[in-house]
């Protein structure tokens, strides 16, 4: 089979042009600035920290779905992580306010009777954590 090549377009085969190099640099800059942008815009909610009686007991990633049982002062509190949200599923405390809190994606859930505290956040936003509810 004979191949015909259009003469006018033969220059295209001459390797990389200045515009090619500029395009590579531009794309690199775009993607790197994208990384920086995302790091600054979405810093929240990267892991779940569970404290029992004031001591850090567990540290779990927010993006993996799990259910764990945490041994508190008066019994076991079951914490469930699903779809980047956290809830307390079961609790031995009398009025179950922590359970009624439902799914939470930022801040914290605190169960005072059982002394179980669940914090959501990356390591950098520890100082501005807010307590959503205190279950007495």
């Amino acid at each position: 089979m004979r191949l015909e090549v259009r003469r006018g377009k033969k220059e295209i085969t001459e390797g990389t042009t200045v515009a090619d190099k500029l395009l590579i640099v531009a794309l690199m800059i775009i993607s790197l600035s994208g990384f920086i942008f995302i790091k600054n815009v979405f810093p929240q909610g990267t892991d779940v920290r569970i404290e029992v009686n004031g001591k850090s007991a567990y540290r779990l990633p927010l993006n993996t779905d799990t259910t764990i049982s945490v041994k508190g002062v008066i019994g076991d509190t079951v914490v469930e992580i699903k779809n980047r949200k956290v809830r307390i599923k079961e609790s031995p405390c009398p009025n179950k306010i922590c359970i009624h809190n439902g799914w939470v994606d930022r801040g914290a859930i605190v169960c005072l009777p059982n002394k179980v505290m669940v914090f959501i956040g990356g390591s950098e936003d520890r100082q501005n954590k807010t307590i959503d509810a205190i279950a007495g």
Binding site: R2, T13, M28
Partner: protein, 169 residues
């Protein structure tokens, strides 16, 4: 369309399907990461035989290899189809509007970029419907697309040079 063009498209499509299917067998560190080696064929077709042939080769490649792999009309096919058509369209437009500005590497980069943009858009509209994961993934995709785009562009350039040399001698 002349008979010779049909032969050419058939031959190039066969190469593209083989590469595309082979690429699907390669294990990748991230499941949705593809090297896009089949784009080399589209690139060479575009530069040597024009936009219509390139689009034809892309369409045949995407549809037939999805039938061979068994993903026809599935979510993977929709992503692959959208990405292929948009990237060929972008490369074709660049090539005909700005004929001598970009070499093979530049065209390949534009193809890779628009492939990623199309797939991110489709993923957003059809599957994810949340902006946050799309935004988080896009810089990684653009960076990887740039790397594979440059490599594919170089290989495509060598292929084009070779075909031109052989057909002239």
């Amino acid at each position: 369309m002349q008979l010779q063009d049909k032969y050419r498209i058939a031959l190039l499509s066969a190469y593209a399907i083989a590469i595309h299917s082979f690429e699907n067998l390669l294990p990748t560190p991230i499941p949705w990461l593809r090297l896009g080696i089949a784009n080399i064929i589209t690139l060479a077709t575009l530069v040597l035989y024009g936009f219509r042939s390139a689009m034809m080769v892309t369409l045949i490649r995407v549809i037939l290899s999805s039938i061979f792999i068994g993903t026809f009309l599935g979510p993977g096919f929709i992503m692959s189809f959208g990405g292929g058509v948009i990237s060929t369209l972008a490369m074709g437009l660049t090539f005909s509007l700005l004929p001598r500005l970009f070499g093979p590497v530049g065209l390949s980069l534009i193809g890779a970029l628009f492939h990623n943009i199309a797939q991110l858009f489709l993923a957003y509209v059809l599957f994810v419907q949340k902006l946050e994961p799309i935004l988080i993934v896009s810089p990684i995709l653009i960076l990887l697309g740039t790397i594979t785009g440059v490599v594919n562009g170089f290989i495509g350039g060598m292929l084009i040079k070779n075909i031109v040399k052989r057909s002239n001698s």
